[in-house]
Each structure stands twice: as C-alpha cells, then as structure tokens.
Amino acid sequence: MREELLAIIEKNSRIDLKELAVILGVEEADVVSELAALEAEGVICGYHTLIDWEKTSNEKVSALIEVRVAPQRGQGFDNVAERIYRYPEVRSVYLMSGGYDLMVILEGKTLREVSNFVSDKLSTLDAVLSTATHFILKKYKDHGTVISQKKEDEREMITP
C-alpha cells in the first residue's frame, strides 16, 4: 500500500483520509498510521500546493542558477550546499552530474533582487568558482502538472 499511497498523495495531498482508505481498500486507521510512519521516516517531507503565481497580482521572478564549486576535503559539496540552501529565497538546491555542480532555483520579487543575490551572496562564497544565471520566462509544466490548461472530455457520451 505504501507506494500506491504515496503516488496518490503526491498528486493530491488534500484527499481526505476516509476516501484514501476506500480507494486503497484498507482501513482508515491503517492509512493514519502509515502516514504517520512515512512522516516520521522523513519519506513525506511536506504537503505543498502548486500555484500558478502568474494568475495572481503577486509578481515573482524565478531563476535557475548553475553553480560550479570547489569541493572541500572530507565534506564534498555538502557544506557549500548548506550555505546556499539556508537563504530563504533559495527554493531548491540539487547536486548535478555534468558541466556544473549545483543547480540552484531561486525566487525573488524582482529581477534586481535576484541579480543582487547572485552577485552579493552567491558569487562571493569562497567555494563558488562561477555561476550562470538563467531566468525562467514561463512555466509550462511543473511537478508533473501542465500549468493553465484544462482538458475537456471529448469522448462520445455513450459508447458500447
């Protein structure tokens, strides 16, 4: 049930427990204890909402920054990653294979705010060798969901 449960709440974390139990074919108490276990084990890290901020009056600028860093002896990339992810404006930090080391996704109110962060805070870290900043112009699909597109059911109403 664990994987199936996770697959469901990954798409819809607001589903109610009773319904979750019904569609999984288990008791509600089992769902409650499994969720508690998954949270305790750190498998479930949070319950978030996917928002298309474009449709609100709240303007946001997002950037994807490629960061090359010098790994530190005995620490690898962990220390510098932590230095970076502690900034609240940093949304995600991934260690990457390939041409650069860390991918940082940043969210700010304005272009200036983002560029200031890169020039003042990120580039000045000792371990950071270089950065390349890409501004995100439009999100088409995020977290497996196609943004701003509602699909109509085009099937015939009745078929044998």
Partner: protein, 392 residues
C-alpha cells in the same frame, strides 16, 4: 423502386445504446458514466512512435496479416502473459480493433445453420456478427448469483448437435465479471466433450483486479480450438487507433487472413508502428492505469454499499453492474429518469441482452472527481425513489 436493403440486415435490431445516445446528445449539461473507453490519453511515447512513423513517410500498406515486427511482439506478449506460444508469421493476424477479429473469426468458421453460443449480458456485436455470418445465435443468460460467470451447467444446457462455437467474453463488458482458472477448466471440459470451438474475446485482459487474467488457451487442449482475440484499445488507451489482433491455429488464422485481405487489406500502418512501441515499453503505463481503475472501482463499490445499492463485486474491465430491481422500474425507465432528473447518463443493462434487465452499466473510465459528482447525484436520486416508494 425495389427495396435496396437486404432482409438479413434489415432484420438486425439497432444497438440498444443508440436510442440512449440520441437523448443524451441533445442534453447540453449532462454528465456521463456511459462510455466504454478509457479516459486516459494514449501514453505519449506510443503516440510519439505513431507520429515518427508518419514523419518517416511510413504511409504504405503493411502485409495483409500486419507488420512482422508487431506480430512478433504480440507473440512475445502472449507468451509472457499467458505462457502460450503462437507462431508470429502463421498464427497471428492484426485486425482493425478486436471487433474486426470477432467478425472475421465467425465468418471464417460458421456454416449456415451452425449455432453460436453467446453468453449475455455482453458486448453488442456478437449477436449481429453471428447472424451476418449465417449462424444461429443462441443466447446463454448469465446470472447475478454466479457473479455473471459462465458455468459448465449453463453451457451444457445450451449445446445442441448444431452448436459449433462458444463466444467467451471475459473480463466482461458490461458486468465486469471475470473467469478464474477453475471456471475455465470446467468450461474446457464441456468444450472438449462436444468438440466445440471457442472465440475468446480478451480485450480487457490487462484490467483485472483480483488475480492475473487467465486465458482459456492456457487450459490443456484448448489452444488448438480457440481464437484468442485481444487488442490495444483498453490496455493502452488506444481506442481511436483501431487496432486489435487474433491468435489461433494456423488453419483458422489463414482463412481469417484471406477474408481480412479482401475486406480490409491491412490494419492502419501508423497504428501498427505505435503498437510495437506499446508492447515493447508500455508495461508501466498499463500498471499505472490499472491502479487508477482499481481505486475508482473500490470507490464505487464503497459508495454503493453506503447507499444500500445491490451490486456484486466485479473484478475486471472498468464497469460495475448494480441491480436496481428494488425500485420497481425497468433498466430503461431507471436510466431515462436518472438522465432527465439528475442529468447523468448510464447505460441500461438491457442494451447488452434481455437478461441485463434490472441492471445498469456504470463505467468508471472517469476521474475520481467526476465519479464523485455523478455518484452524489445517484445517491440523491435513489433517496428520492425510496421516498416515492414509501409514499405509495
């Protein structure tokens, strides 16, 4: 002017679904639980292969029986799923949907007057196809108390000296019934005893929720006398691609191929290329869709239990078949009122045979969100009916 229409064709009843379809299509705001096809889009990697084949200009006919590569993949697939081997070049025919395979199979095997056994409730085309092939259709009425499975006794009772073929439609549309190994073994015994053939329509084989689908060709002695029909529509959500297939003994498949050659030429080439991809890399998609259907199935069964609506638990396809006899209406009356008063379309059980009277086919090829809305209306409707009954 003389009557241009053949008596045989004029004599065939139009599908019971048609009448309902006409009412529904005039209602703008109706929601439907009436479709017999998946709500999922064909997985993108499969569509992509179809598109790629068009880009490459693969717009020619394939060989009559279908692309060799696809027949090979089908052979591998049946071996993997059912443990039975079919020689890809001689014992596999690619058809325009499972429907064509049903038609061709009957036409290839039936002599005038032969009797074809058709368990009902079942898909709407068996009976007309049997008639067009010159056979006499003999209906076996399946029973709710057997969970709409076919029993050896029912089969035995329907057999006469003229019986030649049994159509075996499981997992079943519209009831959702399945046949398990023990059920099939009992059937196979009767088939062998009377030297009959089987046309096994297994189009819903990937959609079972109890145990893995068992085909009658797995039962010893049955592969030699069975046409196994399957296709891509339900498993891979590829209804519009119109692609199915038949596997069987060379003797029968070769004759079917001959008919197919004259009537159809070959199945759509684009669809065949897409289907190769489906069989090669589509297992995960099937699993994902099956999981979603199963969640909806559980949701509906629970909803019926809560509203006290009688329904046996179906373990196949994507239909539930609740009983509405307690309301003292025919299936048709119930479905018509439900549509008019609550604006939800379901299909009366009688569209799939007279013995579907007292039942409704409800499809769960809809998202949980849609099902919730529709089931809310069903609950409201049933409450109203029960109050009406009390009043009388």
């Amino acid at each position: 002017m003389r009557n241009p229409i053949a008596d045989k064709v004029a004599g065939i009843k139009p599908s019971g679904i048609r009448k309902f379809f006409d009412i529904v299509s005039e209602m703008k705001d109706a929601i439907s639980l009436g479709v017999g096809e998946p709500d999922f889009d064909t997985p993108w990697h499969i569509r992509d292969e179809g598109i790629y084949s068009l880009e490459k200009g693969r717009t020619f006919y394939t060989s009559n029986a279908g692309l060799k590569e696809l027949r090979q993949e089908i052979s591998n697939y049946i071996k993997r799923k059912q443990g039975v081997f079919y020689e890809p070049l001689k014992e596999v025919l690619i058809t325009v949907g499972g429907s064509e395979a049903i038609d061709m199979g009957l036409r290839a095997m039936v002599n005038p007057g032969d009797e074809v056994l058709i368990p009902q409730p079942s898909y709407v085309s068996y009976e007309p196809c049997a008639i067009l092939a010159g056979a006499k259709p003999v209906i076996i009425n399946l029973k709710a108390e057997n969970e709409f499975r076919l029993t050896a006794e029912e089969l035995e009772e329907a057999i006469t000296e003229k019986t030649k073929i049994l159509i075996l439609p499981f997992p079943n549309n519209p009831t959702g019934a399945i046949m398990e190994r023990k059920d099939l073994e009992a059937i196979a015994e009767v088939i062998l005893k009377h030297d009959l053939f089987v046309l096994s329509d297994e189009i819903y084989s990937e959609l079972t929720y109890k145990e893995k689908h068992v085909s009658i060709v797995e039962i010893p002695g049955m592969r030699e006398r069975t046409i196994l029909i399957n296709g891509f529509s339900k498993a891979y959500a590829m209804t519009g691609w119109r692609l199915g297939y038949a596997c069987g003994p060379e003797l029968i498949i070769q004759q079917m191929t001959k008919l197919h050659q004259f009537a159809i030429m070959c199945a759509p080439t684009t669809s065949q290329y897409a289907a190769v991809e489906a069989l090669k890399n589509g297992d995960d998609d099937v699993l994902e869709m099956r999981t979603a259907y199963n969640q909806r199935r559980r949701f509906l069964m629970n909803a019926f239990r809560e509203m006290g609506l009688e329904c046996f638990e179906p373990y196949g396809a994507f239909y539930v078949f609740p009983c509405i006899r307690e309301f003292g209406m025919t299936s048709d009356e119930f479905a018509t009122r439900f549509l008019e008063e609550e604006k939800v379309a379901v299909v009366p059980g009688t569209a799939f045979g007279d013995c579907g009277e007292g039942f409704l086919r409800i499809s769960y090829a809809y998202s949980l969100e849609n099902l919730k809305v529709a089931i809310g209306r069903l609950e409201h409707f049933i409450k109203k009916l029960r109050e009406e009954q009390k009043g009388n």
